[in-house]
């Protein structure tokens, strides 16, 4: 960890010792505004962490069903229902809650303003959790809209949408009260991303143009933008704030970040149809999607370059800093997005589309990029809010379990998908492709187990950063007893 951060720890430790309640969130400064911000931020992260553990436990269970299809054969524990719970839970509960919590914190801190409304923040969190609980229960009972990544029934997605609207109002109102004239780039990404997502949630909910193939077109639009206009901009936005804090240096190029922001906005909404290549969707729609999938290299490469250039020269000490999470996230962004562009080409789609390769890709992006960026943001910013730092060892264990786990996971499924595609291409029997992929599914479960173990450590770390006893407190306690 950076030396100035260590100083901070010592400084905070002193302050902490003045507080008398162990359960209270200690304060970085004594100002009540900060206490509010810390309280809100901590609650969002803790809630998100619970959803992460739950949703990935479901994911792990589901992965074992590939090897043991007759394990837990009851409706409530069946693959077809749990899969949606895993994806919706990681998307709309874990990542969304964590990113909104981070975005609210960044909005206030980067603007030098206080959070516009604590009550509104609690309402958002309550709505998001209500939607997640109702969504999980209804899916497990077999009630689903039947469209990947928007499985929740429409009225549950209304609740989710209200959660997003209240959150974005809070962000905008907070930034409106900023000190300077300038809006920091993180807020462009987080507020922009949330606004687009609200538009998308509404657009995808209206039923009257979603019949037959029309619904396929809307689904193509939705399933890709749910990632590209929501998780991508928010993760990038949070990183644009967290990384300079961790490295104690400004972002390499502000204008490169703005450039990536606008190109992302322009190109992304057009590329969804690449999920339905060779389908009966109009050929020109698929071609347009492929062209703009290539165009996505522009924001991806400029964003990646911007982060990597910010990192330059820090490799001497960075391996002990939460910045490692962001570094993995940046590489996850680069690899996952470039892979997405390559996958969009028809020649490669012939091989990889509809295979497990796609599942590997979605984990490389949603986990290798988004989730690692979120962790980087949380480890960087949550201690700054609460004054409680996690154990460095526990943070390291979390990092390595998750990083090694996701590498095994993605490698196994990429290999499985390639083999499936080749089997189909060679005209082997379909069941042969199932048998050939089976050993790789076992490896996927191995990777998934490591990832899940990492999440348990992360949940412990969140505890030490919020409501539990932090590293600094323990150190202080030792000093006292000695």
């Amino acid at each position: 960890m950076q030396s100035n951060e260590l100083d901070n720890v010592a400084e905070k430790t002193e302050r902490r010792m003045m507080s008398d309640s162990a359960a209270a969130i200690p304060l970085r400064t004594g100002a009540p505004d900060d206490r509010v911000l810390a309280r809100v931020f901590a609650a969002y992260v803790a809630s998100a962490a619970i959803w992460l553990v739950f949703s990935t436990a479901v994911g792990l269970l589901v992965s074992f069903k590939f090897a043991y299809p007759d394990f837990a054969t009851t409706p409530a524990l069946s693959f077809g229902r749990l899969r949606a719970i895993h994806t919706s839970g990681t998307f709309y509960a874990w990542a969304s809650q964590a990113l909104i919590g981070l975005a609210l914190f960044v909005a206030a801190r980067s603007s030098g303003a206080r959070l516009y409304s604590e009550r509104l923040a609690w309402i958002s969190l309550a709505l998001l959790n209500l939607a997640a609980v109702l969504g999980t229960v209804t899916l497990d009972l077999g009630f689903t809209y039947g469209q990947e990544y928007r499985e929740w029934l429409w009225w549950i997605r209304v609740i989710l949408g209200l959660g997003l609207i209240t959150a974005v109002l809070n962000m905008i109102a907070t930034v409106e009260h900023r000190e300077g004239e300038h809006i920091y780039i993180s807020n462009w990404y987080t507020i922009g991303g949330t606004l687009w997502t609200i538009v998308m949630v509404v657009v995808s909910m209206l039923p009257w143009y979603q019949f037959g193939l029309g619904q396929v077109a809307v689904q193509a639009f939705f399933m890709h933008n749910a990632v590209g206009l929501w998780f991508t901009p928010l993760s990038l936005g949070v990183s644009y704030y967290a990384l300079p804090k961790l490295l104690n240096r400004p972002i390499y190029s502000y204008s490169l970040g703005v450039f990536a922001f606008w190109t992302n906005l322009i190109f992304y909404p057009i590329i969804g149809a690449h999920h339905f290549e060779f389908s009966p969707l109009p050929w020109w729609l698929q071609t347009t999607a492929i062209v703009f999938s290539v165009a996505m290299l522009v924001p991806v490469l400029s964003g990646t370059a911007n982060f990597l250039l910010t990192f330059r020269g820090t490799h001497e000490w960075i391996y002990r800093s939460p910045a490692m999470f962001i570094l993995v996230g940046v590489y996850g962004y680069l690899l996952g997005s470039t892979q997405g562009t390559l996958e969009a080409f028809r020649s490669l789609q012939q091989l990889w589309h509809l295979t497990n390769y796609t599942v590997g890709h979605s984990h490389l992006t949603m986990y290798g990029f988004v989730t690692f960026a979120i962790w980087g943001g949380i480890y960087a910013l949550l201690p700054r809010a609460t004054g409680k730092y996690p154990y460095n060892l526990a943070m390291g264990i979390h990092f390595w379990l998750s990083a090694v786990g996701v590498v095994i996971y993605v490698a196994a499924l990429s290999a499985a998908g390639t083999i499936q595609g080749l089997d189909w291409f060679r005209g082997l029997t379909f069941i042969q492709s199932v048998e050939d992929a089976a050993p790789y599914w076992l490896w996927r479960s191995v990777g998934g187990s490591l990832m899940f173990a990492g999440h348990l450590v992360f949940a412990f770390n969140v505890w030490t950063m919020t409501y539990g006893r932090s590293y600094a407190e323990l150190a202080a306690a030792k000093t006292v007893s000695a």
Partner: protein, 421 residues
């Protein structure tokens, strides 16, 4: 980018021949959605070689009645666009839903026992699901309402016949390949099309799906009955004193002659079977004799070898085509994109039943939508311009050229349909 194509594509007219779902089938689709079947089963056949086992390439109109759309994004299990044709036996569907590994040992599909109920006595009007003993729960298994609805939905998934015009779509079967038996191909085709019922080892499922190992029909010197069973399916047949209720689907429209010959030869040379091998020509002959067999009061008595296969004068057919048809459809049968439909690879031209093909030539056509492409230009009727023999020659030329493999017609067929106004 989501809304405008959505509005536009919501209005795609249904593929001709596509039926709306019945209330029971619609309920079955709800079960399909609710159990998340679409996470592992696609319903989109792409114009790619690997997708051929699943049916013809999907057309936009195929989805006109499909809301919720279920194209899917992952194919851990096979595509189901045409499963109602590929696996038309409801008994198989029930066994497979109750316990997939009862019929496909390597399957990793979840079992859905909650779509069934186990009762002590078979209720009146119900049919028991004939599970193999090692998977039977000890009681009579019958599908519940959800199970029946799901099976009805699966059986409703049938692709209406259509012309593949997209680039990459191949004609129905290889025509230039030399006749002969490729053991590897035969085994693969058997695994794709037959093994889920008859078992990879040809043992079948006792009492439900007949074994092929040692079967008298498979080992018979005269292959007619064997070919006929594969072409047209079977049901309710008594074999060695055991009556088999499950319906065997017809493969005449799903497989090319060479493929059927490969499958039959695989069956005739595996698991101890020693039936005489056949060639694709035998299958062609059996296909061509189909009307004769149907007319015959007792099909067993008809010897297809004795019935002359229709033949035609290739030179005459080619000339008549050049004179009457090539101006629009092109000498190579390629048509003019968007204006005149191609005949090479056309489903009507390759159909086993030539009635639509003959009627089209006799009475002409206009405004037909083929693979989502509407052809506005009117095709003239030829009934008053050409004799039955000439029309038969033209049709036979089309059915044997540019990779087409439709069974031949006779002037008598034309006469019959001409009268049939």
């Amino acid at each position: 980018m989501g809304v405008l194509p959505g509005i536009w594509l919501s209005k795609v007219p249904p593929t001709p021949g596509l039926k709306p779902l019945t209330p029971l089938e619609a309920r079955g689709r709800d079960v399909y959605v609710s159990e998340g079947c679409f996470y592992c089963h696609t319903q989109q056949v792409r114009p790619l070689s690997g997708d051929k086992p699943f049916g013809r390439p999907s057309a936009p109109g195929d989805y006109a009645y499909q809301t919720t759309e279920l194209l899917g994004s992952e194919r851990t299990g096979p595509d189901l666009s045409n499963i109602g044709t590929r696996q038309s036996s409801s008994i198989w569907q029930y066994i497979h839903l109750y316990q997939p590994r009862a019929v496909v040992p390597q399957s990793i599909m979840p079992a859905f026992p909650w779509l069934f109920r186990v009762v002590d006595k078979l209720p009146p009007g119900e049919k028991a699901v004939p599970l193999p003993p090692q998977f039977a729960p000890g009681g009579v298994v019958v599908p519940n309402d959800d199970g029946k609805a799901l099976a009805a939905y699966l059986l409703s998934l049938k692709q209406p016949a259509l012309v593949p015009t997209q680039s990459g779509a191949a004609p129905l079967g290889p025509s230039s390949e030399p006749l002969g038996f490729d053991a590897t191909k035969g085994a693969a085709l058997f695994a794709d099309n037959c093994a889920s019922c008859h078992g990879a080892e040809g043992k079948g499922v006792p009492g439900t799906f007949p074994p092929l190992a040692g079967d008298p029909m498979v080992n018979a010197a005269n292959p007619t009955a064997h070919i006929g069973a594969v072409l047209h399916g079977l049901s309710g047949k008594v074999i060695n004193g055991q009556k088999y209720e499950a319906q065997m689907p017809a493969f005449a429209d799903q497989l090319a002659d060479q493929q059927i010959a490969d499958i039959i030869n695989h069956e005739r040379s595996s698991w101890g079977n020693r039936g005489a091998l056949i060639s694709a020509a035998d299958v062609v002959a059996a296909r061509a004799n189909e009307p004769l067999q149907k007319q015959a009061t007792s099909p067993e008595q008809v010897s297809p070898v004795a019935a002359p296969a229709p033949s035609f004068d290739a030179a005459e057919g080619s000339k008549l085509f050049a004179d009457n048809c090539a101006a629009c459809h092109g000498a190579e049968g390629k048509g003019v994109p968007g204006t005149f439909p191609p005949l090479a690879g056309d489903q009507v031209v390759n159909a086993t039943d030539p009635a639509e093909h003959i009627t089209t030539v006799l009475r002409g056509l206009s405004g037909k939508a083929i693979n989502g492409q509407k052809y506005e230009v009117e095709m003239p009727p030829f009934a008053d311009r050409l004799s039955d023999q000439q029309i038969a020659d033209i049709i036979n030329h089309e059915r044997t050229s540019w990779g087409n493999q439709g069974p031949l017609v006779t002037p008598a067929d034309i006469t019959k349909l001409r009268a049939n106004k």
